[in-house]
């Protein structure tokens, strides 16, 4: 049982001890709380827990499989794609969701001729920056974050 006011972020952190998802702004603006709900990235700070009682939730703790890091996690380490690390769980979950969206042919607003077709979008730097704009990094590690994601996208 949870209080109707409880957010998914608080349920994960305070009840389930899954403290990977971070509380940054708590207003849906910074992206540190990003998790996947049924495979789609969302902000857990604006998600009421009662609304997702039957959904499949993936947090940063669930990205690694059988002790092996997710390709994004490996790439973030290789590219030194963080400094303090506070935004990193959200960046990783958001990037995982973003790659799935791109694989499904979803355009972004910078996709050339987005009205034309449903080809999977090629994820260059401009695309990655636009698609990841919901995740802030106060340390300014953006160049390395973009490079890490670009490597996995290739």
């Amino acid at each position: 049982m949870v209080d109707t006011r409880e957010t998914l972020l608080d349920t994960l952190r305070e009840r389930l001890d899954l403290t990977g998802s971070k509380k940054g702004c708590d207003h849906g603006q910074c992206g540190a709380c990003t998790v996947l709900v049924d495979g789609r990235r969302v902000k857990s700070c604006l998600t009421l827990t009662v609304t997702v009682d039957d959904r499949d939730i993936t947090t940063v703790e669930g990205l690694a499989r059988d002790g092996a890091l997710h390709p994004l996690q490996k790439a973030f380490i290789e590219h030194d794609a963080f400094q303090c690390g506070y935004c990193t769980p959200g960046q990783l979950c958001s990037a995982a969701g973003m790659l799935a969206e791109a694989a499904d042919g979803w355009p972004s607003v910078v996709t050339p001729g987005l009205g034309a077709g449903t080809r999977p979008a090629a994820l260059d730097e401009e695309e990655i920056r636009e698609r990841m704009s919901g995740n802030l990094c106060r340390c300014g590690a953006y160049p390395n974050i973009v490079a890490a994601i670009e490597q996995v996208a290739r």
């Binding site: 209080d3 109707t4 006011r5 957010t7 708590d26 207003h27 849906g28 992206g31 990003t34 789609r40 990235r41 969302v42 902000k43 604006l46 998600t47 009421l48 009662v50 609304t51 958001s94 969701g97 973003m98 969206e101 499904d104 042919g105 979803w106 355009p107 972004s108 607003v109 987005l114 009205g115 034309a116 077709g117 449903t118 920056r129 636009e130 698609r131 990841m132 704009s133 919901g134 995740n135």
Partner: protein, 328 residues
């Protein structure tokens, strides 16, 4: 946040019935705006009726050649839909130019239409605001109104509607399907949102208990060449300073028909009817686009800190229309 009851509706009818049982019930879509406003203390419903599971939340083709979009469809799914991208690219562009990927995956079509203004005084409960507390005053008039209205505002409110999607829907002449305590009805756009007048607390013409169930797009073949251009303070994840949705139907260098709407300039997504009337039958030239933009903005009443929005809106209108000519 104040305590509230939660109920998940399985049909539109049962949602309306459930909401009718409570004095201050509110429908919950993606919650991207509502949950935040509840946390800020701007709204305090005693009940949330979750309307995200009412139907399949997808798109169906209408017999008239248009599309019927389920109100609980997520914005991300809407913008990615092949029929939306092909037939109404301005709508896909408008949706994709708003918010962030995560928020678009949460926000519903119905909720996007009913989101509240981001005027800082409305969102700050320590400040007066006629929209939040009728009769308390409007500090924005003499305060921070850089990004507020230049058209259709009143002494009591200078707020703007924040939606990008709604601007495209107003341009396309979408029809909003509503289920209410008295049964179903249809509300054409523009016409869902209202100018503030003396009642800025009312954003739309909807009555208590009314639920948006779908948005219908009419058949509009020339909208296959349409655009949404948004000017904002950051490259991404930012509300519009000015935006323009436009579609042009040109034959032999003459504008046969057109659709134009402006965003972030008024309490409503602003359909530019004067500009459309000025353009129909005119040569598709930049001089004519400038004349049409001037006709639309002749009635602008900017505030001291947002005068720049008038020439900006004019320039963006000309640019979008010129781009549509070039891409033909």
């Amino acid at each position: 946040m104040r305590p509230f009851a939660y109920e998940r509706a399985s049909t539109a009818r049962s949602a309306v019935t459930a909401a009718g049982r409570s004095a201050n019930a509110v429908y919950l879509g993606g919650g991207t705006n509502l949950v935040d406003l509840m946390r800020l203390g701007v709204v305090s419903p005693d009940m949330l009726v979750d309307v995200t599971r009412i139907s399949d939340g997808t798109i169906h083709e209408t017999p008239e050649g248009g599309l019927l979009i389920g109100a609980e469809m997520r914005n991300g799914d809407l913008a990615a839909h092949p029929l939306v991208r092909r037939r109404y690219p301005m709508l896909a562009e408008a949706v994709l130019s708003g918010a962030s990927g995560q928020l678009r995956n949460m926000a519903t079509v119905g909720g996007n239409l009913l989101q509240r203004t981001r005027c800082s005084y409305f969102q700050d409960i320590t400040k007066p605001c006629n929209k939040r507390v009728p009769g308390s005053g409007c500090p924005a008039r003499t305060g921070d109104h850089r990004n507020l209205a230049i058209l259709g505002h009143s002494d009591s409110c200078v707020a703007t509607h924040p939606s990008d999607m709604a601007v495209a829907l107003a341009a396309l002449g979408a029809v909003v399907h509503v289920e209410g305590p008295q049964g179903p009805r249809r509300v054409p756009m523009p016409g869902l949102h209202r100018l503030p007048g003396a009642e800025p607390e009312r954003d739309t013409v909807l009555a208590p208990g009314d639920l948006i169930t779908a948005v219908e797009l009419p058949s509009l073949p020339f909208a296959a060449r349409s655009r949404y251009l948004k000017v904002k303070d950051r490259a991404s994840f930012s509300f519009a300073v000015v935006s323009v949705a436009a579609a042009l139907d040109i034959a032999g260098g003459v504008v046969r028909d057109c659709r134009i709407a402006l965003g972030a300039v008024a309490h409503v997504p602003w359909r530019a009817e004067a500009a459309e009337a000025a353009l129909r039958g005119s040569p598709a030239t930049e001089a004519e686009f400038a004349r049409a933009a001037g006709a639309e903005l002749a009635g602008a009443r900017p505030l001291p800190l947002n005068r720049f929005k008038v020439p900006l809106a004019r320039n963006v209108m000309i640019r979008v229309l010129a781009d549509l000519v070039e891409t033909r």
